[in-house]
């Protein structure tokens, strides 16, 4: 059966080690060829390590540049305002002197690049300015409210993974056309259902009908707050599940066409090992990269969920600040969210690369 002889070039790297162990005795007949083989592998290893280092530093540099632009863009938001932000913040009936004094106090009388320089230095000192109204430090606001938001995002991603992983596996391994067709249609439909509508329906079903989810309120401690967070997270992952399961499904289908899967079936690999090493691990890289890009979408959804369920997260703080035209707060929250996304796309790219070295980083 010639087609059963594995083509080593097509295998992902993590499988090559296992296969080399089987193949090397046949290939290396004399000592000489074995030595040259070893030398070749050494070179190959070095090259791999160098490539890894290069991509790693390249990604870090790129993330720093993008992060810098995120700060610049967030900072120049203030300049977009058609009116004078200081005058708008203070209200209509204030004297010229008060406006000027406030302007000097905020450092708005300096040229743009100096203002940005001050702001930039402030970020590294942990000083993001303070709210026009409550007078609180923006850093303090972020410190108290960011954990809630991050927790909702983490829970949403967990729920999304728990739903889409089995779903994609089931659909990809199923031979039925109906299942595939239904999967496509249903993911299309759920892609178009807005998160806030889903949240309200969830509230209607779980909050009113079954009465197992509180409509509002929050408590700080970790295991207790899950009671308040599970429904927002579930509603929030509604926009993530279709995208995630689709990408996972299509890469699973591609993996199933590979020869090593056939080899795995014929060799009778243990089921758990087959699913993880042969199917999931080679197909997971695009999903992980996508997941890191979807963090931005999750943040957007969380803002809405926090407003609906009155959770004390950073998103509700953002809406309050927007309503009150509290510019330093809006600016800093937007910047922090941008930086979080930059950070996660860096992590995601790297993880995707480590999971499957065949992925070329763009």
């Amino acid at each position: 059966m010639p087609h059963l002889v594995p083509n080593i070039k097509k295998f992902p790297r993590f499988l090559c080690d296992t296969l080399k162990r089987e193949r090397i005795p046949e290939v290396t007949e004399s000592q000489k060829t074995a030595a040259s083989q070893d030398a070749k592998m050494e070179v190959e290893k070095d090259r791999n390590r160098a490539a890894l280092r290069k991509t790693f530093y390249g990604r870090i540099l790129r993330s720093i540049i993008v992060g810098f632009w995120v700060m610049v863009i967030a900072f120049s938001l203030m300049r977009l305002s058609p009116g004078d932000p200081v005058r708008l913040a203070l209200g209509a009936d204030v004297t010229e002197e008060a406006v000027e004094a406030f302007r000097t106090q905020l450092g708005l009388d300096k040229p743009f690049y100096l203002q940005f320089w001050d702001y930039f230095l402030g970020i590294f000192r942990g000083d993001l300015g303070y709210s026009y109204f409550s007078g609180r430090d923006v850093t303090e606001i972020l410190g108290t409210h960011l954990p809630v938001t991050l927790m909702i995002i983490a829970l949403s991603i967990l729920f999304a993974a728990l739903i889409s992983l089995p779903l994609a596996l089931w659909v990809a391994t199923s031979k039925s056309n109906t299942v595939n067709y239904l999967f496509r249609a249903l993911t299309s439909i759920s892609l178009a259902i807005p998160g806030f509508f889903l949240a309200l329906l969830g509230l209607l079903v779980f909050g009113v009908y079954f009465n197992i989810a509180p409509a509002a309120g929050y408590e700080g401690a970790f295991p207790g707050n899950l009671r308040y967070l599970w429904l927002p997270a579930l509603a929030n992952c509604g926009s993530l599940v279709p995208v995630l399961s689709r990408v996972l499904h299509s890469s699973l289908v591609d993996t199933l066409d590979e020869e090593f899967v056939e080899t795995g079936i014929i060799r009778g690999v243990r089921k758990s090992r087959f699913y993880w090493s042969y199917l999931l691990r080679p197909s997971l890289a695009p999903t992980v990269v996508l997941l890191s890009y979807m963090v931005g979408v999750m943040i957007g959804g969380t803002v809405i969920m926090e407003t609906i369920f009155s959770l004390p997260g950073i998103g509700r703080e953002l809406i309050t600040a927007v309503d009150g035209r509290d510019y330093p707060v809006v600016q800093s929250i937007a910047m922090i969210f941008g930086l979080i996304v930059v950070f996660f796309s860096f992590i995601g790219d790297l993880t995707g690369y480590l999971l499957d070295r065949r992925v070329t980083l763009s």
Partner: protein
């Protein structure tokens, strides 16, 4: 996919994706038609007192009435044009601007401009879409115009990124080289040869983006930052009804929500159908 491998059932009843496209267009068409006809023939105006406040769905008021006694049925269909219209403009402007800027970047030889503008684009794309739009609206103020402006300011970068990657490929194609050899003007090559081929990709993205934008517009109104209240708008109607939902008055919230989903699903079907058809053409 398995059909092709097994070699059976090669002849199919319908071309791949046709069903989705037809269903999508039917759903969208019926919504637009209803949006044109129903406010025109109905007894009540969208802002008129139709019946008792919070009257349940009945033969007089198909979808019931909201907290101010306005007919939900009329209001849902009165909102069709403002919602769809804003979304269409909010997709069209970034599509055109982003495609042109991205294409110019992709074919330009100036490395410095390329990397600087490229990283600015990446910087804009790094912001979560909804958060950036909300922040922009905080600075430029709410309203239909500023929603469109804010969405355009954020979204052009996404199109520009797609167009740029594509333009680099298209620029190296034989037909562009041939046009250059024939001595066509740069403008003609750009608009007749490069942009049509780049925009096929950005237009495909625009369809899926339309869903995101229409949800974002409703979400902004839902947060109270979008289209202002007297105007019937799905997101705003959901906002008005959301506190009544938990006390048993579900109709002022659920019907606008269904209309919003209906519009989104219609476009999702069209987009899905077109993608499948394009893939089939590609593999043939």
């Amino acid at each position: 996919m398995s059909i092709a491998i097994e070699g059976k059932k090669e002849k199919k009843f319908l071309k791949e994706g046709t069903f989705g496209i037809y269903t999508g267009f039917f759903m969208l068409g019926s919504l637009v038609l209803a949006g044109a006809i129903i406010p025109w023939i109905s007894k009540y105006g969208p802002d008129e007192l139709a019946s008792m406040p919070l009257a349940p769905p009945s033969r007089a008021n198909f979808f019931g009435t909201d907290v101010l006694g306005r007919d939900v049925f009329v209001r849902v269909f009165d909102a069709v044009f403002i919602d769809l219209g804003t979304a269409i403009i909010g997709v069209a402007i970034p599509l055109v601007v982003g495609t042109i800027i991205g294409t110019l970047l992709g074919i330009s030889q100036n490395k410095r401009v390329n990397s600087v503008v490229g990283s600015v684009i990446d910087g804009i794309n790094a912001f979560p879409f909804l958060v950036f739009v909300i922040a922009l609206i905080a600075f430029i103020g709410p309203g239909v115009g500023s929603i469109v402006l804010a969405i355009s300011l954020v979204n052009w970068a996404r199109y520009a990124r797609i167009a740029r990657t594509r333009a680099v490929v298209v620029n190296k194609q034989g037909y562009v080289e041939a046009a250059r050899t024939l001595g066509f003007s740069k403008k003609r090559i750009l608009f007749k040869h490069i942009i049509p081929n780049v925009s096929s990709e950005t237009r495909a993205y625009a369809l899926s983006d339309f869903i995101i934008v229409i949800i974002a517009i409703a979400a902004l109104s839902f947060l109270g930052l979008g289209i202002k209240p007297p105007q019937a708008e799905w997101g705003g109607m959901i906002r008005d009804g959301k506190d009544l939902l938990t006390v048993g008055f579900w109709w002022p919230t659920v019907f606008p929500g269904i209309a919003l989903c209906w519009a989104g699903i219609a476009v999702a079907f069209i987009s899905e159908g077109l993608t499948r058809r394009m893939r089939e053409v590609g593999t043939r």
